[in-house]
Structure formats: C-alpha cells, structure tokens
C-alpha cells in the first residue's frame, strides 16, 4: 500500500490510550473501513494504534439484565453469541446481512459505530435498544446515549484521543419484539438501501415502548421519535401503525444515489416500519 504511517501494537488498553493521546494517532480495529480509506488516501494519520492485542476490549457480558459488549467485539462474535440472540435479535439479523465472512470476522462494533456511515448496519439495532456508548481516554471515561453520539454525516461526539470501550443496553422486557430489516440490492455483500430496526413492547393491550431507528435515509442514522410517540400508550391498530409508518417516512431525509432514489427510500421507510411494527403487534397479540 502506498500510504505511509507508523504502527504500534499495544497489549493493554492503558497503553493504547497513551498512544492515542498523541497528535495524528488513530485506532485500528478490524481495518475493514480504515485500511480501505488509507489506501484511497481519504485519511492520512501519522500513527495507527492496532487494538488487535488488547484482549480486554473484546467480549460480550450479561449481568443484572444489562448487556455489555466490548468495542473490539467482531460481527461474527455477535452472530454466534447465544446472549445476543435472546437479548438483541435485531443485532443478529444485522450481523447476518453484514458484508461477507472475512469482513464479519474482522469488522468490529466500535468500528461500525465510529465509521459514522449512514449505512452502518449495527447502528439501527443498537439505537432501537436504547444503547449507551462508553468512551475512554487518558482523561477519563464518559457514557452517553448512542443517539447523542452521532452529530452529522461522518461526524461524531468522540474526541481524537477517545476509544469506544463498551456499548451497553438494558435487555428489552419479556413481552417485546426487537427486529431489523435490511433492504439492499442483494442478500449478501451489499450496502444498505434502507434499514429499519424496531423494538415494540406491549402490556395489557397497549404499546409500552416503541423504538424505530432508520438507516441509510439521512446524514446520520436516526430515531423516528414522533412516530414512536404516536404508538406509545395506544393499542396498535392497523390504522395507527399506518399513520406512524407514514410519520417515520416523513422524518427521513434520504438522498438519490447509485443504489436507490430518495423517493424509493422514503417509501421503503414507510413499508418496512409498517411491516416490522405489524409483525411485532401480531406476535405479542
């Protein structure tokens, strides 16, 4: 590769953070985005800090109903985890539709979040789960809702010396459905045209929680909060679901590109939101 940079391979998180505090240093996790960007000269860091040997950043833990995953956890780790299968089915669905085997084996949760791509497939599921992100640097640690992390197209709230240490969320209630659908031009190895993730909980015939997260239809991945508010506290009738799906489409701000037109994307937000919420309502009876 023509790009020029230094490379450090620390063995501990502490050592990695000290290196990342230097000017021009960036973390290297799976490399499936960063190496491609370096080769194309879209980014020109002075120092790469490989997280390959920082074992403490990788893993999935469940305690007291809370799921916590290390930033270095790979997409393959997610897809094969029994804990994720029950606590976050949408994340498994996103992992199953994520690139190809070799990329899934390397790509990490933190990398997918930090890429800031509107088509990052792990993000709508995590937003639908109300996930928090914990950032760490030599200056300390801070936790924020993942929704607050995304600022604009490829722009996030992380500072250059910060690492995504963990992503965590409270397991959804027993009577909840959590699901993701990725619309793309092929089933495998394809970039998302429109991705929708939902969490729907129903108690006593009324919707007690509605989360609708939209991917690839705005400069950042976003929650359709007005649509969610329309559903919460109500019985999920077909007419109400239709109206909320229409509202979600109205909140999207898609663009025309090589994969689909803005008009088609907006239409598919409505179709997929309606479909996923209806299926959830049906399953929860």
């Amino acid at each position: 590769m023509d790009a020029r940079f230094d490379l450090e391979m620390p063995e501990s998180c502490e050592e990695a953070l000290t290196l990342l505090a230097q000017d021009g240093a960036v973390p290297l996790a799976g490399g499936t985005d960063l190496i491609v960007d370096l080769r194309a000269r879209r980014r020109e860091p002075r120092l790469l800090v490989s997280l390959d040997r920082v074992a403490e950043l990788r893993g999935i833990a469940a305690k007291n109903g809370r799921i916590e995953i290390g930033g270095r956890t790979t997409v393959t780790d997610l897809v094969r985890s029994p804990a994720i299968a029950t606590a976050a089915p949408s994340l498994v669905q996103a992992g199953m539709a994520f690139a190809g085997q070799m990329v899934r084996n390397a790509a990490t949760v933190a990398g997918n979040i930090a890429s800031g791509s509107p088509a990052a497939d792990l993000v709508p599921p995590l937003l639908s789960l109300d996930a928090d992100v914990t950032l760490i640097s030599t200056r300390g640690e801070r936790t924020m809702p993942l929704a607050a992390f995304f600022i604009d197209y490829r722009k996030n709230a992380g500072q250059s010396d910060e690492l995504i240490r963990t992503i965590s969320w409270q397991r959804p209630p027993e009577r909840a459905v959590n699901a993701f659908y990725k619309l793309a031009r092929r089933k495998g190895d394809a970039i998302t045209v429109t991705g929708v993730a939902v969490t729907v909980a129903i108690e006593g015939g009324r919707c007690t929680r509605a989360r609708i997260a939209l991917g690839a239809v705005a400069p950042t991945i976003l929650r359709a909060q007005q649509a969610e508010a329309m559903l919460e506290g109500k019985a999920l009738t077909p007419a109400l679901i239709e109206a909320a799906a229409h509202e979600a489409a109205g909140q999207s701000r898609p663009i025309d590109d090589i994969r689909a037109s803005a008009e088609y994307r907006r239409h598919m937000v409505k179709v997929l939101t309606r479909r996923l919420v209806s299926q959830a309502a049906e399953r929860l009876g």
Binding site: R4, F5, L7, I35, L38, M96, Q101, V103, N105, G188
Partner: protein, 162 residues
C-alpha cells in the same frame, strides 16, 4: 516513519522472516515471499480473493497489516492439504468449481472455515459464509456442489478414523 522491521510469519508450517514497513499489507508480504496463491483482487474487502486463515479464522489479507500477523498461524489455500490435496481441493476439481481459478484460493479458505464450524452445511449456510467471495465464472452452483461433496468426503474419512 515507515522504516522496515524484520518480522517472522508462520505460513503453511514454515517460518518466513521478512523486513517490511508498517504500511505493508499481509497480502503484499505473502506474495513477495512467494505465496502467490493468495490473490490480489479488489483490495477493499469485497471480493475475498486474498482470504487466508489466521489462527483458523478466515481474514482478507488485503485489509490486514503484515506486522499484526506476527506470531499468528497463517494458512493459505496451498497449505490446506499436507502431503496430498485437501478434500475441498479435489472436490473443486472433480465438480468443475474452478474455471479461471482466480477466486479459487479465497473460496477454498472461506469454505474450509465454514466446514470447520459446520461439517454438514445447509444451502443457506453455504450462501451466508461464501457471500464474501466473488466468482464471475462459475455462477456458484458448482462451488456449492463441491463444498457439499467435500463435506461428505470429510465425514466419511472421519468415520473411517473412528
């Protein structure tokens, strides 16, 4: 910046020492060391032609920096069989899953990784685990036939050893 460092890579049971700079990918380092069965394709992680096993996990060598592979066990397609061809390799030949051959090493690696996880894979599993390997000749049908065939051969061999 970018000064060479001597690294030792364990490839197909051999130890290779090579002096490379930080920005050299594993793909480049392997090909320069003579492992030309590892193919250079898209260099974006889309095509899977450069797949190798690192500690048993299939990885795109074009997205991996050579320094980070030091101390790991690397296997390329040519290293899958020991003294004879691996059942996957004979099945690919017998079932006509090879045409131009460019994608074949990567497909063998991805298929090997699939069978290690799931010795009798369903059609869906095969499509899922091989979707990161692009082949413009075969249309994939013969690839799936070959993987199925190899799985059967390997199961029979396993039973024989028991």
């Amino acid at each position: 910046m970018a000064s060479d460092r001597a690294i030792t890579l364990r490839v197909n049971g051999r130890s290779i020492t090579t002096a490379v700079p930080a920005h050299r990918t594993l793909l480049e380092a392997l090909r320069d060391a003579g492992f030309v069965d590892v193919k250079r394709g898209c260099e974006k992680g889309d095509c899977g032609a450069c797949a190798v096993l690192i500690d048993g996990v299939a990885i795109d060598a074009c997205l991996t920096l050579a320094w980070t592979a030091e101390g790991r066990t690397i296997v390329t397609a040519a290293g899958l069989g020991k003294d004879e061809l691996h059942p996957l390799q004979t099945s690919f030949i017998e079932k006509g899953a090879i045409q131009c051959g460019y994608c074949t090493p990567g497909l063998l690696i991805a298929a090997h990784s699939l069978l290690a996880m799931s010795p009798d894979p369903s059609e869906d599993e095969m499509r899922f685990e091989l979707s990161g390997n692009l082949c413009r000749c075969t249309g994939y049908s013969k690839v799936f036939e070959a993987v199925k065939d190899a799985a059967t051969k390997m199961a029979a061999r396993e039973a024989h050893h028991d």
